[in-house]
Amino acid sequence: MTCPHTKGCALFPLFSQESFLAIWKSTYCEADYAQCSRYIASAKGEVVAATLLPNGKHLTNRPKTR
């Protein structure tokens, strides 16, 4: 079942548009969305920053290099 909060999610459009991000969509948005930190925060009526990832971590603005 697809997450009911995709319409207002800042990241869902990217998860849908960029193939290399689709794993987030298949793992959370279209499967275990109840475990998604973005969904949990949104369901509580909290502000969901665009940097919050479904796994609860925040994006940093200094990408690491490998």
Partner: protein, 202 residues
């Protein structure tokens, strides 16, 4: 002189506001949503601080690519982060208006009403809701109590329905969104029925 604008002037103004809001800001208007965001401005400011490092969608996508590798390891599709294509504003519709913009919107709404009333010479400070309200509901504590309970119910209904007369009635109906059409029919229909019933009551 009527206390209201001519219907066509109101229609033109509301259409301009609904279309202009979407055109200028890339998102649909919703007063109750603006009020809700303003009331939790501390959370909003904190979220804005965390997002401040990403000036463009492309930067966010590059960081997402890195985070995807961190989260899923070998399961994540291999990619060269430096060649990630810019999504050309893919995030724009979902990005929130800065909280300062929401506050400005609400302030301008009140200011606009003040200017319109002043220009028509109709502005007056009053502490009652008018003769009709007094006749139907009452005055004093009874009238204030009714207003308070009514406000609570409107707030509850607005949150449950995910919008109010501006979000559903103006923006949603203009976009022919099914939920907005149903919500608007419900709250306008209820308002008409209740006002009719009150008018008929002795």
């Amino acid at each position: 002189m009527s206390a209201y604008w001519p219907w066509w002037a109101s229609a033109l103004a509301l259409s301009a506001i609904a279309v202009g809001y979407v055109h200028l800001l890339g998102r649909t208007m919703g007063v109750s949503g603006s009020v809700a965001r303003t009331l939790r401005y501390r959370q909003e400011l904190a979220a804005e601080r965390t997002e401040r490092g990403f000036e463009s969608d492309a930067e966010l996508v590059i960081a997402l690519a890195q985070a995807t590798r961190d989260a899923f390891g070998e399961l994540a599709p291999a990619l060269d982060a430096t060649s990630v294509p810019a999504p050309a504003g893919a995030l724009a519709p979902a990005r929130r208006l800065p909280i300062a913009g929401e506050v400005m919107f609400l302030a301008m709404m009140i200011g606009g009403a003040f200017v319109a009333a002043t220009l028509r010479g109709a502005f007056a400070v009053r502490l009652d809701m008018g003769e009709e309200f007094a006749r139907l509901v009452g005055t004093g504590a009874r009238g204030l109590g009714a207003l308070f309970v009514g406000g609570l119910l409107v707030g509850l209904g607005t949150r449950l329905a995910g919008g109010c007369t501006s979000g559903h009635g103006l923006a949603g109906c203009a976009r022919l969104e099914r939920g907005s059409l149903i919500a608007t029919a419900c709250f306008f229909g209820t308002a008409i029925l209740v006002s009719r019933a009150m008018e008929m009551s002795p």
